[in-house]
Amino acid sequence: MMTVTAARFLLDGQVCFVGIGLPSEAANLARLSHAPEVVLIYESGTMGTTPDVLPLSIGDGELAERAQFVVSVPEVFAYWLQAGRVDVGFLSAAQIDRFGNLNTTVIGPYDQPDVRLPGAGGAPEIASSAREVIVMLRHTRRAFVPQVDFITSVGFGQAGEGRTGHLGRGPTLVITDLGVLAPHPETNELRLVTVHPGIDVEEVREMTGWELDVSPDLDVGDPPTADELDILRQLIARTREAHSR
């Protein structure tokens, strides 16, 4: 449902900066369904790539062979992301707070971490320079915290102060397995705008580490269509088959 929901938000022709996992799944679902002209950029430098199976790593051969062109990593970040040519950047995180700040660095204090996470990667500049950011992560109390332990990639700032100096509008959507959150137009605080079918608002509140605000015009997402499920299943089947080789 997360994948399908995210895919639906992508418009045909948009340029998407994609990471591995759910974002890659969603962007390719969009490409194979309603948005055939969506342009996929992976930070490995594969530009306009059309993978037949989902990559396990950001640098799979599949991505290079099926790319329109391939550039160096310095060029991806300088000429393409930093220059403002990316419409939608996908991010995930171990923690997200009420103002959409993301943590992929450490749980606990930086110098004595309880859990050392992989780190920043391309995220801080995607969060800053992509026109908008779609965050995808599972909805748990451990992930949705009042304040992240470490701001790896900024959303609307520690106090929701906003985005002065950034090229992009920041996290406009947070898509979880329970629903969709979006920043409040004035306060920048994330609030629930959509629940997935069969999900109860109380459940979402429970899974959120802060007093979750709910939009007055909350709606319920449409279940995946047969087409969407079909394309997705085939994509995942092809992928599993290819990677088990």
């Binding site: 591995i20 996992g21 930070e43 490995s44 430098g45 594969t46 990559p55 396990l56 790593s57 950001i58 640098g59 799979d60 051969g61 991505l63 290079a64 062979e65 790319a67 062109f69 391939v70 550039v71 160096s72 990593v73 310095p74 970040f77 300088a78 992301l81 930093q82 660095t105 930086y110 971490p113 309880d114 859990v115 050392r116 992989p118 780190g119 920043a120 990667g121 391309g122 995220a123 801080p124 500049e125 969060a127 800053s128 320079s129 470490f150 701001i151 790896t152 990639s153 900024v154 700032g157 100096g165 950034h166 090229l167 990677h243 088990s244």
Partner: protein, 290 residues
């Protein structure tokens, strides 16, 4: 001028204890063979630089070869954590590991500055991130518009090690596909070691993103077929995805990791031995079952 040497010689000459070494590769063309040779030669106190430290750096860190890591993303691509890396940072096992971390854009800018002979590079980055409190980033103002941009210091490794598809007999390197930051890392370093799949009379000069490193920018070349396994070399091999998935279990456990490294790397004479060993499922079974 590039010299053709054996991998043990090259590592012996170019990677003594305490070296600052960048073994670059962006999931493609990762110089695993060179990393294994560093392990076999028992190096210590290395400063390891890499945008995306992955399994090979997990192995070097787990074997206690490194004192310091400069990086921007440390994980097992598509799988999860690097457990040896985490164990070193979280518990100082087997030895404490200093870290200096950046964003990808910052690391790419640092390598580019190094390759360009500049003391620093500039980018729009780090804004609003706590990284600035923990790493080497400065903010400077544009002398024309007054806009603030981030500045990061150039990276200049003592030696950069990369794996490429081809070398011709004069030592010119042909590399294509996803080349990440390898050209910049090579041009930024004091010396450059390249392991190659094949030595050819004429470089093929085609393939996406085809690039040449001329022989006069390369210090040493060692031919190591499939020297990027479990990563891959476009045109020569495919990625061993199963290896990466299985690595998660091996690296979670200190003793299992030690047994695995001994069986597959330390006790092997060379990378050929390792390649034969990974083909042998029964060896893995024995190692897993202790």
């Amino acid at each position: 001028m590039a010299e053709f040497v054996s991998l043990p010689e090259a590592i012996g000459d170019l990677v003594p204890d305490g070296t600052t070494v960048a073994m670059e590769g962006f999931t493609h063309l990762i110089p695993f063979a060179a990393g294994h040779e560093v392990v076999r030669q028992g190096r210590r106190d290395l400063t390891l630089i890499r945008m995306t430290p992955d399994v090979i750096y997990d192995q070097l860190i787990g074997m206690g070869c490194a004192r310091r890591l400069v990086f921007s993303w440390g994980g097992n691509p598509g799988v999860g954590s690097l457990h040896r890396f985490r164990d070193a940072v979280e518990n100082g096992y087997p030895t404490p590991l200093e870290i200096e971390e950046h964003s990808h854009a910052g690391m790419a800018t640092r390598y580019t500055a190094g390759a360009s002979g500049l003391p620093f590079g500039i980018l729009r980055g780090y804004l609003g991130s706590d990284l600035v409190k923990h790493t080497d980033v400065a903010v400077i103002d544009c002398p024309f518009t007054g806009e603030a941009v981030a500045a990061v210091p150039a990276l200049r490794p003592d030696v950069t090690v990369i794996h490429a598809q081809q070398a011709d007999r004069r030592g010119n390197i042909g590399i294509w596909g996803i080349t990440g930051v390898q050209r910049e890392a090579a041009l930024a370093a004091a010396s450059v070691l390249v392991t190659v799949e094949e030595v050819v009379d004429e470089l093929v000069r085609e393939g996406p993103n085809y690039a040449v490193l001329p022989h006069w920018t390369v210090t040493a070349i060692a031919q190591v077929p499939r020297g990027s396994h479990p990563s891959y070399s476009m045109g020569y091999s495919t990625r061993d995805n199963r290896f990466y998935t299985r690595w998660d279990r091996v690296s979670r456990d200190r003793e299992l990791f030690a047994r695995w490294m001994d069986a597959f790397v330390v006790s092997q004479d060379d990378f050929g031995g390792y390649l034969a060993a990974v083909e042998d499922e029964s060896l893995l079974e024995r190692v897993l079952s202790g």
